[in-house]
């Protein structure tokens, strides 16, 4: 296991030699401060939010983890595989451009779609959510598609040798 998973257990070889005791004390101080702030946050939560509402907070936090780890991340993973398969004759650069375009569009949609949904629920007054967000999102995707295709064509015309590396199977 490498250091990222090492946690508070001793750091891997090569790290502790140069840092040693100083690193250890800095980490302990940080850990102490962090735990205090976390505890203060928990106190503020229980102090200011009615007890019957706390399970709702916990539920939302748990749902967020599930939504990301069990739904969003696998979709992104499958999408990456699919894209690389579909584009197996394309260069890595073009795949990266197309992938980037779709990811940028998805992230902007993530921010924009709730606006469209919320606008259906009669906003508090006419100055809240005044824009046509559906139309704006359509325009954005259109511009994004044009830019992405343009960049891909440009990358294709540069005519570099394919830089897709097929995995070597020497490990099997």
């Amino acid at each position: 296991m490498t250091s990222l998973q090492g946690g508070l257990t001793p750091p891997p070889a090569g790290i502790e030699a140069s840092t040693g005791q100083r690193m250890r004390s800095i980490r302990l101080v940080l850990l102490g401060v962090g735990v205090l702030m976390l505890a203060w946050g928990a106190f503020v939560m229980f102090d200011s939010v009615r007890l019957t509402r706390i399970p709702g907070v916990a539920l939302w936090i748990a749902a967020a983890i599930v939504l990301h780890d069990a739904i969003l991340a696998p979709i992104v993973f499958a999408f990456g595989i699919a894209l690389r398969r579909v584009g197996r004759r394309a260069t890595g650069t073009i795949i990266a451009i197309v992938q980037g375009g779709i990811v940028v569009g998805s992230l902007v949609s993530l921010v924009a779609v709730p606006l469209i949904v919320a606008k259906n629920f009669a906003p508090a007054n006419p100055t809240v959510l005044p824009l046509n967000y559906g139309l704006n999102l359509g325009i954005f995707w259109l511009v994004l598609a044009v830019v992405t295709v343009g960049l891909s064509v440009w990358a294709f015309l540069r005519g570099r040798r394919p830089d897709v590396a097929f995995p070597d199977d020497s490990g099997r």
């Binding site: 250091s3 702030m37 939010v49 939504l67 690389r84 992230l107 924009a112 100055t127 097929f166």
Partner: protein
């Protein structure tokens, strides 16, 4: 677990990349926390607290930054989670009590971060589809998250310091040894399954994944960083126009638009929500000032007869939007002097609104004595619209919109 990590391996998923995106995200969290605390204490000051009244757009900048940085956290946080995702499949899942606490803190950190930025975003357009109060939970989670961030930094400090600067080798190290497909891991697989690979459907799925071409590391990393940069620029650039005028033209996805609203100014709480229309339009309305036992009432005409001052001040809301406007009315300082109030006096502002958490607010002496603080009677050259607080409202430099009390009824020395 080993196979899952191996299948998820990517040139992007390495400690150097985790450090690069992680420090941006960490900075964003700290900015949100700092600006959030500032906004919180403006609204609920401790007794000894005094605030800066200049520059007069101070709150516009701090709260605009709070919202913009929060929106930037969407691409940054998802990028960070993408990088470290294989760690979810760490094996063995728990190696002891310390390891368990570490993983539990990460789970809470991830979940609470996602909830925090989501409820923050939806609050900017007053949409509350959750079963708990926004302000209190957002404030408490702020402390929780900063605590977890500091703990996370403490845990990962050796990694962070090692990968803070780019080193030639760091790019090719994966998140875990298992991922790099070394012989040791294969040996582990053989021990588990008698072969390097499980049989049946799982094996076939993994073979399929392995047979997929991988993008060259350098292209993959550059593509990833460019994508994160472009996505962050896009979500920020296309929403920040509600706060910062130069971006107004590309404001596609902000919940507010500059200039949209009565008299060119957006509205937060309406007269209908506040149930003040009758009281505000009543001819008998007057503004009462109460200072150390003396009370005096001013009709709107009497206020208009006092020396009038024009100021340019933004109205800046906790929800991130802001709007520059010209206001005209009586300096609060002049009214205080008329009542012989001590210059050290703070005031309580009371609205016609009977319910609502900001119907009574306090104003520290630094705002009371500021020459830009007005009891405003006109907005952008017209009589103040009912939705903007007719007959009279407060406008002061550098305060959140909720404290710019509309439909004033009474001003008391504290």
């Amino acid at each position: 677990m080993y196979e899952a990590q191996r299948a998820l391996a990517s040139p992007v998923r390495n400690p150097r990349m985790a450090t690069v995106i992680g420090r941006l995200l960490g900075a964003a969290f700290l900015i949100c926390f700092g600006t959030g605390l500032y906004s919180h204490f403006l609204q609920e000051p401790l007794d000894w607290m005094r605030f800066a009244t200049r520059p007069e757009f101070l709150y516009q900048v701090t709260q605009g930054t709070h919202i913009i940085t929060g929106i930037a956290c969407f691409p940054l946080l998802l990028a960070k989670l993408y990088i470290v995702f294989p760690n979810l499949f760490a094996y063995p899942p728990v190696r002891g009590i310390v390891h368990f606490l570490e993983r539990a803190s990460i789970a809470l950190f991830v979940g609470a971060s996602l909830v925090q930025i989501t409820i923050g975003l939806l609050n900017t357009y007053q949409w509350y589809p959750w079963p708990f109060p926004f302000r209190q939970v957002h404030f408490a989670l702020g402390w929780v998250l900063i605590g977890l961030l500091v703990i996370h930094i403490a845990v990962k400090l050796p990694v962070i310091t090692r990968y803070w600067n780019k080193s030639p080798s760091s790019d090719d190290e994966h998140l875990s040894d298992a991922v790099s497909g070394d012989r040791g891991s294969d040996a582990e697989a053989v021990r588990l399954w008698g072969t390097t690979r499980p049989n049946g459907v799982t094996g076939r799925v993994l073979d399929y994944i392995d047979a997929t071409p991988r993008t060259a590391s350098r292209v993959s990393r550059r593509g990833f960083l460019t994508t994160v940069g472009v996505a962050t620029t896009a979500v920020v650039g296309l929403t920040a126009g509600q706060t910062f005028t130069p971006l107004n033209a590309v404001n596609l996805f902000a919940p507010r638009k500059k200039g949209v609203g009565q008299q060119g100014v957006p509205v937060n709480r309406t007269s209908e929500q506040a149930k003040v229309a009758d009281a505000a339009m009543a001819p008998a309305w007057s503004l009462t000032l109460a200072v150390s036992g003396t009370e005096r009432s001013f009709t709107r005409d009497e206020l208009l007869a006092l020396p009038q001052t024009s100021v340019q001040l933004p109205i800046a809301c906790v929800e991130g939007w802001s709007q520059m406007a010209s206001w005209r009315g009586v300096r609060l300082r002049d009214l205080a002097d008329l009542m012989n109030a001590d210059p050290d006096t703070s005031f309580r502002l009371i609205s016609l609104e009977e319910r609502g958490s900001f119907s009574k607010t306090q104003m520290g002496r630094e705002y009371v004595r500021d020459p830009l603080t007005l009891v405003a009677l006109e907005l952008n050259g017209e009589t103040l619209d009912l939705e903007h607080g007719y007959p009279a409202r407060m406008i002061a430099p550098g305060r959140p919109g909720v404290l710019q009390t509309k439909w004033l009824s009474r001003i008391e020395a504290i």
